[in-house]
Protein backbone atom coordinates (compact mmCIF):
# COMPACT_ATOMS: atom_id res chain seq x y z
CA UNK A 1 0.00 0.00 0.00
CA UNK A 2 1.42 3.44 -0.88
CA UNK A 3 2.46 5.34 2.22
CA UNK A 4 -0.06 8.10 2.06
CA UNK A 5 -3.07 6.41 0.47
CA UNK A 6 -5.96 8.68 1.23
CA UNK A 7 -8.91 6.57 2.35
CA UNK A 8 -11.15 9.60 2.88
CA UNK A 9 -12.90 9.13 -0.52
CA UNK A 10 -13.87 5.58 0.53
CA UNK A 11 -15.46 6.75 3.81
CA UNK A 12 -17.20 9.57 1.97
CA UNK A 13 -18.60 7.10 -0.58
CA UNK A 14 -19.82 4.79 2.20
CA UNK A 15 -21.46 7.73 3.99
CA UNK A 16 -23.10 8.95 0.81
CA UNK A 17 -24.37 5.46 -0.06
CA UNK A 18 -25.61 4.87 3.48
CA UNK A 19 -27.53 8.14 3.79
CA UNK A 20 -28.95 7.84 0.27
CA UNK A 21 -30.08 4.25 0.82
CA UNK A 22 -31.88 5.16 4.05
CA UNK A 23 -33.64 8.09 2.38
CA UNK A 24 -34.44 5.95 -0.65
CA UNK A 25 -36.06 3.20 1.43
CA UNK A 26 -38.21 5.78 3.23
CA UNK A 27 -39.27 7.53 0.00
CA UNK A 28 -39.63 4.43 -2.15
CA UNK A 29 -41.85 2.50 0.29
CA UNK A 30 -45.00 4.64 -0.15
CA UNK A 31 -44.26 5.17 -3.86
CA UNK A 32 -43.79 1.44 -4.54
CA UNK A 33 -46.85 0.55 -2.44
CA UNK A 34 -48.93 3.04 -4.38
CA UNK A 35 -47.60 1.81 -7.74
CA UNK A 36 -48.31 -1.79 -6.75
CA UNK A 37 -51.89 -1.08 -5.69
CA UNK A 38 -53.23 1.79 -7.76
CA UNK A 39 -55.68 1.21 -10.57
CA UNK A 40 -55.05 4.68 -11.97
CA UNK A 41 -54.47 4.53 -15.72
CA UNK A 42 -51.72 7.16 -15.60
CA UNK A 43 -49.58 4.89 -13.45
CA UNK A 44 -47.33 4.14 -16.46
CA UNK A 45 -46.24 7.79 -16.57
CA UNK A 46 -44.92 7.62 -13.02
CA UNK A 47 -43.27 4.26 -13.69
CA UNK A 48 -41.52 5.68 -16.75
CA UNK A 49 -40.25 8.70 -14.82
CA UNK A 50 -38.94 6.48 -12.02
CA UNK A 51 -37.15 4.27 -14.58
CA UNK A 52 -35.52 7.18 -16.47
CA UNK A 53 -32.15 7.04 -14.62
CA UNK A 54 -31.81 3.40 -15.77
CA UNK A 55 -31.32 4.42 -19.40
CA UNK A 56 -30.46 8.11 -19.37
CA UNK A 57 -26.70 8.94 -19.71
CA UNK A 58 -25.55 10.08 -16.24
CA UNK A 59 -24.25 13.28 -17.82
CA UNK A 60 -27.75 14.21 -18.96
CA UNK A 61 -29.18 13.62 -15.51
CA UNK A 62 -26.18 15.41 -13.99
CA UNK A 63 -26.61 18.38 -16.30
CA UNK A 64 -30.24 18.95 -15.36
CA UNK A 65 -29.47 18.36 -11.69
CA UNK A 66 -26.68 20.90 -11.87
CA UNK A 67 -29.14 23.46 -13.22
CA UNK A 68 -31.67 22.60 -10.56
CA UNK A 69 -29.22 22.61 -7.66
CA UNK A 70 -27.30 25.70 -8.79
CA UNK A 71 -27.67 29.04 -6.95
CA UNK A 72 -30.39 30.09 -9.44
CA UNK A 73 -32.02 26.65 -9.71
CA UNK A 74 -35.42 25.55 -8.49
CA UNK A 75 -33.91 23.79 -5.46
CA UNK A 76 -30.56 25.50 -5.14
CA UNK A 77 -32.03 29.02 -5.01
CA UNK A 78 -34.29 28.52 -1.96
CA UNK A 79 -31.57 26.39 -0.33
CA UNK A 80 -29.10 29.25 -0.71
CA UNK A 81 -31.55 31.66 0.94
CA UNK A 82 -32.30 29.28 3.79
CA UNK A 83 -28.85 27.95 4.63
CA UNK A 84 -26.53 30.49 3.06
CA UNK A 85 -24.73 27.71 1.19
CA UNK A 86 -25.02 26.27 -2.31
CA UNK A 87 -26.39 22.81 -3.00
CA UNK A 88 -24.29 22.16 -6.04
CA UNK A 89 -20.77 20.95 -5.21
CA UNK A 90 -21.86 19.98 -1.67
CA UNK A 91 -22.49 16.69 0.13
CA UNK A 92 -26.22 17.49 0.47
CA UNK A 93 -26.39 18.08 -3.29
CA UNK A 94 -24.74 14.72 -3.86
CA UNK A 95 -27.32 13.02 -1.63
CA UNK A 96 -30.20 14.54 -3.64
CA UNK A 97 -28.53 13.51 -6.90
CA UNK A 98 -27.87 9.97 -5.64
CA UNK A 99 -31.44 9.53 -4.46
CA UNK A 100 -32.77 10.41 -7.91
CA UNK A 101 -30.10 8.41 -9.70
CA UNK A 102 -30.67 5.20 -7.67
CA UNK A 103 -34.45 5.54 -7.32
CA UNK A 104 -35.39 2.82 -9.85
CA UNK A 105 -33.01 0.35 -8.20
CA UNK A 106 -34.97 0.69 -4.96
CA UNK A 107 -38.52 1.28 -6.20
CA UNK A 108 -38.62 -1.63 -8.63
CA UNK A 109 -37.65 -4.44 -6.23
CA UNK A 110 -40.08 -3.04 -3.64
CA UNK A 111 -42.86 -2.74 -6.18
CA UNK A 112 -42.23 -6.33 -7.31
CA UNK A 113 -42.28 -7.51 -3.71
CA UNK A 114 -45.55 -5.71 -2.97
CA UNK A 115 -47.17 -6.94 -6.17
CA UNK A 116 -46.13 -10.47 -5.27
CA UNK A 117 -47.84 -10.32 -1.88
CA UNK A 118 -50.81 -12.60 -1.48
CA UNK A 119 -53.71 -10.19 -1.18
CA UNK A 120 -55.57 -12.78 0.87
CA UNK A 121 -52.96 -12.40 3.62
CA UNK A 122 -53.84 -8.72 3.87
CA UNK A 123 -57.57 -9.46 3.81
CA UNK A 124 -57.02 -12.02 6.58
CA UNK A 125 -55.26 -9.35 8.64
CA UNK A 126 -58.11 -6.86 8.13
CA UNK A 127 -60.62 -9.48 9.24
CA UNK A 128 -58.51 -9.95 12.38
CA UNK A 129 -59.10 -6.35 13.46
CA UNK A 130 -55.95 -4.90 11.89
CA UNK A 131 -56.40 -1.50 10.26
CA UNK A 132 -54.87 -1.12 6.77
CA UNK A 133 -51.87 0.70 8.31
CA UNK A 134 -51.46 -1.95 11.00
CA UNK A 135 -51.75 -4.73 8.40
CA UNK A 136 -49.09 -3.05 6.27
CA UNK A 137 -46.55 -2.97 9.09
CA UNK A 138 -47.40 -6.35 10.63
CA UNK A 139 -48.00 -8.41 7.48
CA UNK A 140 -46.99 -6.70 4.22
CA UNK A 141 -43.65 -5.35 5.44
CA UNK A 142 -42.33 -8.61 6.94
CA UNK A 143 -43.46 -10.58 3.90
CA UNK A 144 -41.70 -8.08 1.61
CA UNK A 145 -38.46 -8.28 3.63
CA UNK A 146 -36.55 -9.93 0.79
CA UNK A 147 -37.62 -7.14 -1.54
CA UNK A 148 -36.21 -4.69 0.99
CA UNK A 149 -32.92 -6.58 1.13
CA UNK A 150 -32.62 -6.45 -2.67
CA UNK A 151 -33.61 -2.79 -2.76
CA UNK A 152 -31.11 -1.85 -0.06
CA UNK A 153 -28.24 -3.80 -1.64
CA UNK A 154 -28.90 -2.48 -5.14
CA UNK A 155 -29.43 1.08 -3.93
CA UNK A 156 -26.28 1.01 -1.82
CA UNK A 157 -23.92 -0.55 -4.37
CA UNK A 158 -25.30 1.51 -7.23
CA UNK A 159 -24.76 4.74 -5.28
CA UNK A 160 -21.28 3.56 -4.32
CA UNK A 161 -20.37 3.12 -7.97
CA UNK A 162 -21.84 6.29 -9.45
CA UNK A 163 -19.44 8.51 -11.36
CA UNK A 164 -20.95 10.63 -14.09
CA UNK A 165 -23.62 12.32 -12.01
CA UNK A 166 -21.19 13.00 -9.15
CA UNK A 167 -18.71 14.54 -11.55
CA UNK A 168 -21.37 16.86 -12.97
CA UNK A 169 -23.01 17.87 -9.69
CA UNK A 170 -20.32 17.41 -7.07
CA UNK A 171 -17.02 18.07 -8.70
CA UNK A 172 -13.92 17.00 -6.83
CA UNK A 173 -13.74 18.71 -3.42
CA UNK A 174 -11.76 16.58 -0.93
CA UNK A 175 -13.81 15.60 2.12
CA UNK A 176 -16.99 17.06 0.62
CA UNK A 177 -17.63 15.56 -2.82
CA UNK A 178 -14.49 13.59 -3.68
CA UNK A 179 -15.98 10.08 -3.62
CA UNK A 180 -14.10 6.88 -4.40
CA UNK A 181 -14.93 6.71 -8.10
CA UNK A 182 -13.74 10.29 -8.62
CA UNK A 183 -10.57 9.60 -6.62
CA UNK A 184 -9.78 6.58 -8.82
CA UNK A 185 -10.30 8.66 -11.95
CA UNK A 186 -8.04 11.32 -10.48
CA UNK A 187 -5.27 8.84 -9.67
CA UNK A 188 -5.37 7.48 -13.21
CA UNK A 189 -5.24 10.98 -14.66
CA UNK A 190 -2.09 11.73 -12.66
CA UNK A 191 -0.65 8.31 -13.61
CA UNK A 192 -0.67 7.22 -9.92
CA UNK A 193 -1.69 3.66 -10.88
CA UNK A 194 -0.70 2.18 -7.52
CA UNK A 195 -3.28 4.24 -5.60
CA UNK A 196 -5.86 3.65 -8.32
CA UNK A 197 -5.24 -0.12 -7.97
CA UNK A 198 -5.75 -0.06 -4.22
CA UNK A 199 -9.00 1.88 -4.32
CA UNK A 200 -10.34 -0.03 -7.33
CA UNK A 201 -9.61 -3.41 -5.77
CA UNK A 202 -11.23 -2.38 -2.48
CA UNK A 203 -14.39 -1.42 -4.34
CA UNK A 204 -14.30 -4.59 -6.47
CA UNK A 205 -13.85 -6.94 -3.51
CA UNK A 206 -16.41 -5.14 -1.34
CA UNK A 207 -19.08 -5.23 -4.06
CA UNK A 208 -18.30 -8.87 -4.84
CA UNK A 209 -18.65 -9.88 -1.19
CA UNK A 210 -21.97 -8.07 -0.84
CA UNK A 211 -23.39 -9.79 -3.91
CA UNK A 212 -21.97 -13.14 -2.78
CA UNK A 213 -23.76 -12.82 0.56
CA UNK A 214 -27.04 -11.93 -1.16
CA UNK A 215 -26.84 -14.87 -3.57
CA UNK A 216 -25.90 -17.24 -0.75
CA UNK A 217 -28.92 -16.07 1.22
CA UNK A 218 -31.02 -16.68 -1.89
CA UNK A 219 -29.92 -20.28 -2.07
CA UNK A 220 -31.49 -20.90 1.32
CA UNK A 221 -34.66 -18.93 0.70
CA UNK A 222 -37.83 -19.72 -1.18
CA UNK A 223 -37.97 -16.33 -2.85
CA UNK A 224 -35.19 -15.01 -5.04
CA UNK A 225 -33.88 -11.56 -4.23
CA UNK A 226 -31.88 -10.66 -7.34
Amino acid sequence: MPNALDLAPLWLSLQLAGVSTLLLLLLATPLAWWLANTRWRGRAIIEAIVALPLVLPPTVLGFYLLLMLGPHGALGGPWLQLTDSTLAFSFSGLVIASVLYSLPFVVQPLQNAFEGLDRRSLEAAWCLRASPRDAFFSVALPLAMRGYLTAAVLGFTHTLGEFGVVLMVGGNIPGETRVISIAIYDHVETLDYASAHWLASILLIFTFIVLLVVYTLNRHARVRVL
Binding site: D118, R120, S121, E123, A124, A125, W126, C127, L128, R129, A130, S131, P132, D134, A135, S138, V139, P142, L143, M145
Partner: protein
Amino acid sequence: MTRLIVQCDLTHSNARQQSFHLHAHLDIPLDLPGQGIIAVFGRSGSGKTTLLRCLAGLERCPSGFVSVNGAVWQDTSKGIFLPVHERTVGMVSQQPCLFPHLTVRDNLDYGFKRTPLLQRRVLWDHVVEILGIGALLDRYPHYLSTGEQQRVSMGRAVLSNPCLLLMDEPLASLDAQRKAEILPFIKRLNREMNLPIVYVSHSIQEIVQLADTLVLVNEGQATITGSVHEIFSRLDVFEHQGDVAGAVIDTQVVAHEPEFGLTCLEFYGRRLYVPYQLSSVGDSLRVHILSRNVSLSLTPPPGPTSILNIFEAHVVEIGASTSGKSAVDVKLDAGCLMLATITRKSLLALNLSPGQRVYASIKAVSLQL
Protein backbone atom coordinates in the same frame (compact mmCIF):
# COMPACT_ATOMS: atom_id res chain seq x y z
CA MET B 1 -81.92 -7.36 18.42
CA THR B 2 -79.78 -10.31 17.48
CA ARG B 3 -80.56 -10.68 13.85
CA LEU B 4 -78.58 -10.77 10.67
CA ILE B 5 -80.16 -8.52 8.10
CA VAL B 6 -78.71 -8.36 4.63
CA GLN B 7 -80.11 -6.61 1.63
CA CYS B 8 -77.77 -6.25 -1.22
CA ASP B 9 -77.93 -5.75 -4.91
CA LEU B 10 -74.84 -5.91 -6.95
CA THR B 11 -73.62 -6.61 -10.40
CA HIS B 12 -70.23 -8.13 -10.27
CA SER B 13 -67.85 -8.91 -13.07
CA ASN B 14 -64.96 -11.21 -12.39
CA ALA B 15 -61.55 -11.52 -14.03
CA ARG B 16 -63.01 -13.38 -17.00
CA GLN B 17 -65.47 -10.56 -17.55
CA GLN B 18 -68.43 -12.75 -16.76
CA SER B 19 -70.84 -10.58 -14.93
CA PHE B 20 -73.53 -11.79 -12.64
CA HIS B 21 -76.16 -10.14 -10.60
CA LEU B 22 -76.72 -10.91 -6.96
CA HIS B 23 -79.82 -9.96 -5.15
CA ALA B 24 -80.03 -10.91 -1.50
CA HIS B 25 -82.75 -10.15 0.94
CA LEU B 26 -82.24 -11.96 4.20
CA ASP B 27 -83.42 -11.53 7.74
CA ILE B 28 -82.22 -14.30 9.99
CA PRO B 29 -82.45 -14.52 13.77
CA LEU B 30 -79.10 -15.33 15.35
CA ASP B 31 -80.09 -16.10 18.91
CA LEU B 32 -82.54 -18.97 18.60
CA PRO B 33 -81.15 -22.15 20.15
CA GLY B 34 -79.89 -24.56 17.54
CA GLN B 35 -80.00 -21.98 14.77
CA GLY B 36 -76.45 -20.84 15.02
CA ILE B 37 -75.09 -22.25 11.77
CA ILE B 38 -76.48 -20.52 8.73
CA ALA B 39 -75.47 -22.35 5.57
CA VAL B 40 -75.43 -20.57 2.25
CA PHE B 41 -75.87 -23.16 -0.44
CA GLY B 42 -75.74 -22.91 -4.21
CA ARG B 43 -73.80 -23.97 -7.25
CA SER B 44 -70.31 -22.65 -8.03
CA GLY B 45 -70.53 -19.18 -9.46
CA SER B 46 -73.94 -18.46 -7.97
CA GLY B 47 -72.62 -15.58 -5.84
CA LYS B 48 -72.22 -17.26 -2.45
CA THR B 49 -68.68 -16.05 -1.94
CA THR B 50 -69.54 -12.54 -3.07
CA LEU B 51 -72.38 -12.45 -0.56
CA LEU B 52 -69.93 -13.41 2.19
CA ARG B 53 -67.37 -10.82 1.08
CA CYS B 54 -70.07 -8.16 1.16
CA LEU B 55 -70.83 -9.17 4.74
CA ALA B 56 -67.15 -8.91 5.68
CA GLY B 57 -66.79 -5.57 3.90
CA LEU B 58 -64.14 -6.95 1.55
CA GLU B 59 -66.47 -6.27 -1.35
CA ARG B 60 -68.43 -3.08 -1.59
CA CYS B 61 -71.86 -3.59 -3.04
CA PRO B 62 -73.13 -0.38 -4.62
CA SER B 63 -76.50 -0.52 -2.96
CA GLY B 64 -76.94 -2.49 0.16
CA PHE B 65 -77.84 -2.74 3.81
CA VAL B 66 -76.06 -4.98 6.27
CA SER B 67 -76.92 -5.09 9.93
CA VAL B 68 -75.73 -7.57 12.53
CA ASN B 69 -77.01 -7.66 16.09
CA GLY B 70 -78.55 -4.25 15.59
CA ALA B 71 -75.28 -2.63 14.49
CA VAL B 72 -75.43 -1.22 10.99
CA TRP B 73 -72.34 -2.18 8.99
CA GLN B 74 -73.45 -0.81 5.69
CA ASP B 75 -76.27 1.45 4.65
CA THR B 76 -75.68 2.99 1.26
CA SER B 77 -78.70 5.24 1.59
CA LYS B 78 -77.01 6.95 4.56
CA GLY B 79 -73.47 6.61 3.25
CA ILE B 80 -72.45 4.21 6.01
CA PHE B 81 -69.72 1.70 5.23
CA LEU B 82 -67.84 0.24 8.15
CA PRO B 83 -64.29 -0.83 7.18
CA VAL B 84 -63.43 -4.50 7.51
CA HIS B 85 -61.34 -4.20 10.67
CA GLU B 86 -64.15 -2.49 12.57
CA ARG B 87 -66.77 -5.12 11.72
CA THR B 88 -65.57 -7.79 14.15
CA VAL B 89 -66.13 -10.64 11.73
CA GLY B 90 -64.01 -13.74 11.65
CA MET B 91 -63.26 -15.10 8.21
CA VAL B 92 -62.15 -18.60 7.29
CA SER B 93 -61.70 -19.18 3.59
CA GLN B 94 -60.92 -22.18 1.45
CA GLN B 95 -57.19 -21.46 1.66
CA PRO B 96 -55.98 -21.20 5.28
CA CYS B 97 -53.94 -18.04 4.49
CA LEU B 98 -51.90 -18.25 7.68
CA PHE B 99 -49.20 -15.60 8.05
CA PRO B 100 -46.09 -17.48 6.90
CA HIS B 101 -43.70 -15.31 8.92
CA LEU B 102 -45.42 -16.04 12.24
CA THR B 103 -45.55 -19.21 14.33
CA VAL B 104 -48.88 -20.88 14.97
CA ARG B 105 -48.96 -19.22 18.40
CA ASP B 106 -48.38 -15.76 16.91
CA ASN B 107 -50.93 -16.44 14.18
CA LEU B 108 -53.50 -17.30 16.86
CA ASP B 109 -52.45 -14.22 18.84
CA TYR B 110 -52.76 -11.85 15.88
CA GLY B 111 -56.46 -11.10 16.26
CA PHE B 112 -56.57 -11.88 19.99
CA LYS B 113 -54.01 -9.17 20.81
CA ARG B 114 -55.98 -6.66 18.77
CA THR B 115 -59.21 -7.35 20.66
CA PRO B 116 -59.93 -4.77 23.38
CA LEU B 117 -59.77 -6.43 26.81
CA LEU B 118 -63.47 -5.92 27.52
CA GLN B 119 -64.47 -7.70 24.32
CA ARG B 120 -62.40 -10.82 24.99
CA ARG B 121 -65.04 -13.47 25.60
CA VAL B 122 -63.17 -16.42 24.16
CA LEU B 123 -60.62 -18.30 26.21
CA TRP B 124 -57.35 -18.95 24.39
CA ASP B 125 -56.77 -22.38 25.91
CA HIS B 126 -60.33 -23.46 25.28
CA VAL B 127 -60.10 -22.76 21.55
CA VAL B 128 -56.76 -24.51 21.28
CA GLU B 129 -58.23 -27.49 23.10
CA ILE B 130 -61.37 -27.68 20.95
CA LEU B 131 -59.33 -27.55 17.76
CA GLY B 132 -56.65 -29.92 19.04
CA ILE B 133 -53.77 -27.71 17.93
CA GLY B 134 -51.89 -27.52 21.24
CA ALA B 135 -48.95 -29.51 19.89
CA LEU B 136 -48.48 -27.21 16.90
CA LEU B 137 -48.05 -23.88 18.67
CA ASP B 138 -44.34 -23.36 18.10
CA ARG B 139 -44.29 -24.49 14.48
CA TYR B 140 -44.41 -22.36 11.38
CA PRO B 141 -47.41 -22.78 9.02
CA HIS B 142 -45.08 -24.10 6.32
CA TYR B 143 -44.58 -27.30 8.35
CA LEU B 144 -48.27 -28.06 8.91
CA SER B 145 -50.57 -30.25 6.83
CA THR B 146 -53.46 -28.53 5.06
CA GLY B 147 -55.93 -29.89 7.60
CA GLU B 148 -53.84 -28.58 10.50
CA GLN B 149 -53.45 -25.21 8.79
CA GLN B 150 -57.20 -24.98 8.34
CA ARG B 151 -57.80 -25.73 12.03
CA VAL B 152 -55.29 -23.03 13.02
CA SER B 153 -57.00 -20.65 10.63
CA MET B 154 -60.32 -21.34 12.37
CA GLY B 155 -58.75 -20.83 15.77
CA ARG B 156 -57.19 -17.55 14.66
CA ALA B 157 -60.56 -16.28 13.44
CA VAL B 158 -62.40 -17.35 16.61
CA LEU B 159 -59.75 -15.83 18.90
CA SER B 160 -60.32 -12.41 17.35
CA ASN B 161 -63.62 -12.56 19.27
CA PRO B 162 -65.90 -11.94 16.30
CA CYS B 163 -69.64 -11.53 16.67
CA LEU B 164 -70.10 -13.48 13.46
CA LEU B 165 -67.88 -16.15 11.92
CA LEU B 166 -67.85 -16.35 8.14
CA MET B 167 -66.67 -19.56 6.54
CA ASP B 168 -66.18 -19.84 2.81
CA GLU B 169 -65.90 -23.48 1.74
CA PRO B 170 -63.44 -24.15 4.57
CA LEU B 171 -63.30 -27.87 3.81
CA ALA B 172 -63.17 -27.74 0.03
CA SER B 173 -59.44 -28.32 -0.25
CA LEU B 174 -59.40 -31.23 2.19
CA ASP B 175 -59.85 -34.94 1.57
CA ALA B 176 -62.85 -36.84 2.93
CA GLN B 177 -61.12 -38.02 6.09
CA ARG B 178 -59.90 -34.54 7.07
CA LYS B 179 -63.39 -33.22 6.39
CA ALA B 180 -64.87 -35.77 8.74
CA GLU B 181 -62.34 -34.70 11.38
CA ILE B 182 -63.03 -31.00 11.09
CA LEU B 183 -66.83 -31.00 10.78
CA PRO B 184 -67.34 -31.73 14.51
CA PHE B 185 -64.94 -28.90 15.40
CA ILE B 186 -67.10 -26.42 13.53
CA LYS B 187 -70.17 -27.64 15.40
CA ARG B 188 -68.38 -27.34 18.74
CA LEU B 189 -67.13 -23.84 17.92
CA ASN B 190 -70.71 -22.82 17.30
CA ARG B 191 -72.29 -24.56 20.28
CA GLU B 192 -69.63 -24.00 22.94
CA MET B 193 -68.56 -20.50 21.93
CA ASN B 194 -72.12 -19.42 21.24
CA LEU B 195 -70.84 -17.99 17.98
CA PRO B 196 -73.15 -17.67 14.98
CA ILE B 197 -71.57 -18.98 11.79
CA VAL B 198 -72.39 -18.20 8.18
CA TYR B 199 -71.15 -21.19 6.26
CA VAL B 200 -70.85 -21.13 2.47
CA SER B 201 -70.64 -24.43 0.65
CA HIS B 202 -71.68 -26.28 -2.46
CA SER B 203 -71.32 -29.64 -0.72
CA ILE B 204 -74.63 -31.15 0.22
CA GLN B 205 -72.99 -33.49 2.79
CA GLU B 206 -71.43 -30.60 4.71
CA ILE B 207 -74.68 -28.68 4.65
CA VAL B 208 -76.70 -31.63 5.88
CA GLN B 209 -74.32 -32.29 8.76
CA LEU B 210 -73.85 -28.68 9.84
CA ALA B 211 -76.64 -26.37 8.84
CA ASP B 212 -79.43 -25.22 11.12
CA THR B 213 -80.72 -22.51 8.84
CA LEU B 214 -80.33 -22.69 5.10
CA VAL B 215 -80.04 -19.85 2.61
CA LEU B 216 -80.42 -20.89 -0.98
CA VAL B 217 -78.59 -18.91 -3.63
CA ASN B 218 -80.05 -19.60 -7.02
CA GLU B 219 -79.52 -17.69 -10.25
CA GLY B 220 -78.14 -14.75 -8.28
CA GLN B 221 -81.11 -14.69 -5.92
CA ALA B 222 -80.50 -15.30 -2.26
CA THR B 223 -83.98 -15.09 -0.88
CA ILE B 224 -85.12 -18.53 0.24
CA THR B 225 -84.35 -19.17 3.86
CA GLY B 226 -85.63 -21.65 6.38
CA SER B 227 -84.61 -24.47 8.63
CA VAL B 228 -82.59 -27.14 6.94
CA HIS B 229 -85.34 -29.72 7.62
CA GLU B 230 -87.97 -27.55 6.04
CA ILE B 231 -86.07 -26.50 2.94
CA PHE B 232 -84.76 -29.92 2.04
CA SER B 233 -88.25 -31.32 2.04
CA ARG B 234 -89.80 -28.57 -0.05
CA LEU B 235 -90.89 -29.78 -3.42
CA ASP B 236 -90.15 -26.66 -5.41
CA VAL B 237 -86.70 -25.41 -4.45
CA PHE B 238 -84.29 -28.06 -5.55
CA GLU B 239 -85.11 -28.28 -9.21
CA HIS B 240 -81.97 -26.37 -10.12
CA GLN B 241 -79.67 -27.91 -7.57
CA GLY B 242 -79.43 -31.42 -8.93
CA ASP B 243 -80.57 -34.60 -7.33
CA VAL B 244 -80.44 -33.62 -3.68
CA ALA B 245 -84.07 -33.30 -2.57
CA GLY B 246 -84.89 -35.43 0.42
CA ALA B 247 -85.62 -35.38 4.10
CA VAL B 248 -82.99 -34.35 6.63
CA ILE B 249 -83.66 -36.20 9.86
CA ASP B 250 -82.00 -35.85 13.26
CA THR B 251 -81.43 -39.26 14.74
CA GLN B 252 -79.63 -40.89 17.63
CA VAL B 253 -77.36 -43.89 17.45
CA VAL B 254 -78.98 -46.69 19.49
CA ALA B 255 -77.00 -49.77 18.52
CA HIS B 256 -74.32 -51.17 16.27
CA GLU B 257 -74.54 -54.51 14.47
CA PRO B 258 -70.92 -54.94 13.47
CA GLU B 259 -71.44 -58.49 12.27
CA PHE B 260 -73.67 -57.07 9.52
CA GLY B 261 -71.82 -53.79 9.13
CA LEU B 262 -74.90 -51.85 10.18
CA THR B 263 -75.75 -49.13 12.63
CA CYS B 264 -79.23 -48.69 14.05
CA LEU B 265 -80.54 -45.16 14.48
CA GLU B 266 -83.69 -43.92 16.14
CA PHE B 267 -85.92 -40.95 15.37
CA TYR B 268 -89.40 -40.26 16.75
CA GLY B 269 -89.49 -43.81 18.09
CA ARG B 270 -88.75 -45.32 14.71
CA ARG B 271 -85.68 -47.30 13.82
CA LEU B 272 -83.54 -46.76 10.79
CA TYR B 273 -80.71 -49.05 9.64
CA VAL B 274 -77.79 -47.42 7.90
CA PRO B 275 -74.31 -48.65 6.88
CA TYR B 276 -71.91 -48.87 9.82
CA GLN B 277 -71.02 -45.51 11.40
CA LEU B 278 -68.05 -44.68 13.59
CA SER B 279 -70.17 -42.73 16.07
CA SER B 280 -70.80 -44.21 19.48
CA VAL B 281 -74.19 -45.13 20.94
CA GLY B 282 -76.03 -42.01 22.12
CA ASP B 283 -74.42 -39.70 19.54
CA SER B 284 -76.72 -37.68 17.40
CA LEU B 285 -76.45 -38.04 13.66
CA ARG B 286 -78.12 -36.35 10.77
CA VAL B 287 -79.37 -38.51 7.95
CA HIS B 288 -80.20 -37.27 4.52
CA ILE B 289 -82.71 -39.58 2.88
CA LEU B 290 -82.70 -38.76 -0.81
CA SER B 291 -86.18 -38.84 -2.23
CA ARG B 292 -85.10 -41.06 -5.13
CA ASN B 293 -84.15 -43.80 -2.65
CA VAL B 294 -87.63 -43.96 -1.14
CA SER B 295 -90.23 -46.23 -2.76
CA LEU B 296 -93.92 -46.48 -1.84
CA SER B 297 -96.46 -49.29 -1.55
CA LEU B 298 -100.06 -49.31 -0.37
CA THR B 299 -99.67 -52.36 1.91
CA PRO B 300 -96.71 -53.55 3.94
CA PRO B 301 -94.71 -56.10 1.95
CA PRO B 302 -96.49 -59.42 2.71
CA GLY B 303 -93.56 -61.80 2.66
CA PRO B 304 -89.91 -61.55 3.66
CA THR B 305 -88.19 -58.58 2.08
CA SER B 306 -84.60 -57.44 1.72
CA ILE B 307 -85.56 -53.94 2.70
CA LEU B 308 -84.72 -53.15 6.34
CA ASN B 309 -86.40 -49.78 6.66
CA ILE B 310 -90.15 -49.69 6.15
CA PHE B 311 -92.21 -46.89 7.64
CA GLU B 312 -95.90 -46.34 7.80
CA ALA B 313 -96.65 -42.84 6.53
CA HIS B 314 -99.37 -40.55 5.22
CA VAL B 315 -99.29 -38.68 1.95
CA VAL B 316 -99.10 -34.95 2.64
CA GLU B 317 -98.67 -33.44 -0.76
CA ILE B 318 -98.14 -34.56 -4.30
CA GLY B 319 -95.82 -32.49 -6.45
CA ALA B 320 -96.82 -31.09 -9.80
CA SER B 321 -96.56 -33.74 -12.50
CA THR B 322 -95.28 -32.20 -15.67
CA SER B 323 -95.87 -34.10 -18.87
CA GLY B 324 -92.23 -33.92 -19.97
CA LYS B 325 -90.94 -35.66 -16.86
CA SER B 326 -91.27 -39.27 -15.83
CA ALA B 327 -90.99 -38.65 -12.09
CA VAL B 328 -93.08 -36.91 -9.48
CA ASP B 329 -92.28 -36.03 -5.86
CA VAL B 330 -94.53 -37.07 -3.00
CA LYS B 331 -94.27 -35.54 0.46
CA LEU B 332 -94.99 -37.90 3.32
CA ASP B 333 -95.52 -37.66 7.03
CA ALA B 334 -93.68 -40.53 8.69
CA GLY B 335 -93.44 -38.94 12.11
CA CYS B 336 -91.29 -36.42 10.38
CA LEU B 337 -91.41 -35.16 6.83
CA MET B 338 -90.06 -37.46 4.17
CA LEU B 339 -89.87 -37.20 0.40
CA ALA B 340 -90.29 -39.91 -2.19
CA THR B 341 -89.74 -39.67 -5.92
CA ILE B 342 -91.81 -42.16 -7.90
CA THR B 343 -92.68 -42.47 -11.58
CA ARG B 344 -95.87 -40.94 -12.87
CA LYS B 345 -96.86 -44.41 -13.99
CA SER B 346 -96.62 -45.65 -10.37
CA LEU B 347 -98.50 -42.61 -9.13
CA LEU B 348 -101.35 -43.55 -11.43
CA ALA B 349 -101.19 -47.24 -10.44
CA LEU B 350 -101.24 -46.44 -6.70
CA ASN B 351 -103.84 -43.74 -7.20
CA LEU B 352 -102.35 -41.66 -4.40
CA SER B 353 -104.12 -38.74 -2.80
CA PRO B 354 -103.30 -36.56 0.23
CA GLY B 355 -104.07 -38.21 3.56
CA GLN B 356 -103.73 -41.70 2.19
CA ARG B 357 -101.80 -44.30 4.18
CA VAL B 358 -98.72 -45.72 2.45
CA TYR B 359 -95.60 -47.66 3.34
CA ALA B 360 -92.27 -46.08 2.54
CA SER B 361 -89.33 -48.41 1.97
CA ILE B 362 -85.70 -47.32 2.09
CA LYS B 363 -82.80 -49.63 1.30
CA ALA B 364 -80.24 -49.35 4.09
CA VAL B 365 -77.34 -49.54 1.62
CA SER B 366 -78.60 -46.45 -0.19
CA LEU B 367 -78.08 -44.29 2.89
CA GLN B 368 -74.64 -42.76 2.67
CA LEU B 369 -74.01 -40.36 5.50
